[in-house]
Symmetry: C2
Subunit: 186 residues, 2 copies
């Protein structure tokens, strides 16, 4: 009887992540990261943000690429719709964070993924942001994420993957728990 | 003595927004919006999200343009850095939301803006997401937003603009207060 081992490859270097975890356990100050974006107003509700460097592993980290993002409000708000709305960026971040987690955890659990897709929906009563009703919050009433995953795994294993990804997701934590934001004018 | 009125123009149609507020006060069901993104896994921690339609004013709203966003983890996490990290998308959304608010409120208060820029920094101890220390949260320890604003206004008026923008910002609310997120596998 021959047992053929098929290597699982989701494109995630789990060995490197486990090595990083071991290294940072011994040097926790290197685990202090600072992510950043800069945002420049263009006109109206249109702004352009850039993301490039960040701080981590004890030093400033530069990237090969600078990423640029246009944000705006849609035409129904009398704007020009020259970019995604700010709240949509939060949904993009949430979907991306959970999806990256699923890929990494699947690799660690030797589950081959074939496809992962998600819809991320945020319900919002805009009476809040328009100041019509002070009992209505400005942000989302709630967010619903729905995954479709095709993988060499049982339904229970796939559910467990998604659950573990939530447990370790930075953006899931940011959205579901409060974060202090200080805003200053230089 | 001649008083010359110089029209303030920040590119925001405040009259339309005030009209919308009046209309939605009479028809609050039209204020129920649903924003959405779809996210597709590419490989490793790399995913691609698209933002196009949304629901609002009682119907599905289509846009002229579909916006597409690549997300990934940086090379220090043994990834390929093919897009901004998910948490950076949250910072982009926060900066854009506060900036759009400043432009709209300045228009309403007849303050001419010349330039608005912000840096948005989120501190994170990645011992959380790596599962090293369960007392460390996965998300940001805190976020600091720093604005530089050049406008025809006093320092106090500029401070008040920024304060009012925070008060009405959807993303500021999302980040500073908890939102329920349900995640399901179809």
């Amino acid at each position: 009887m021959t047992v053929s081992a098929i290597a699982v490859n989701n494109g995630v270097n789990v060995e490197a992540l486990i090595g990083a975890r071991e290294a940072l356990t011994k040097a926790p100050e290197a685990a202090r990261f600072r992510w950043q974006a800069t945002c420049n107003w263009v006109n109206g509700t249109h702004s352009r943000a850039t993301v490039s460097g960040f701080f981590g592993l004890g030093q400033d980290q530069q990237r090969k690429t600078e990423f640029s993002f246009d944000a705006d409000h849609p035409e129904v708000f009398a704007s020009e719709d020259l970019g995604a709305t700010p709240v949509e960026y939060v949904l993009v971040g949430l979907g991306a964070c959970l999806t990256a987690g699923i890929a990494a955890i699947a690799q660690h659990r030797k589950i081959q993924l074939r496809s992962v897709s998600a819809t991320i929906e945020g319900a919002m009563d805009i009476q809040g942001i328009l100041g019509i009703d002070s009992d209505v919050r400005n942000g989302f009433e709630g967010i619903k994420v729905s995954f479709k995953i095709d993988a060499d795994a049982t339904a229970d294993e796939i559910e467990a993957l998604v659950a573990q990804s939530q447990k370790r997701s930075a953006v899931f934590d940011i959205v579901t728990n409060p974060t202090n934001v200080s805003v200053e004018v230089a």
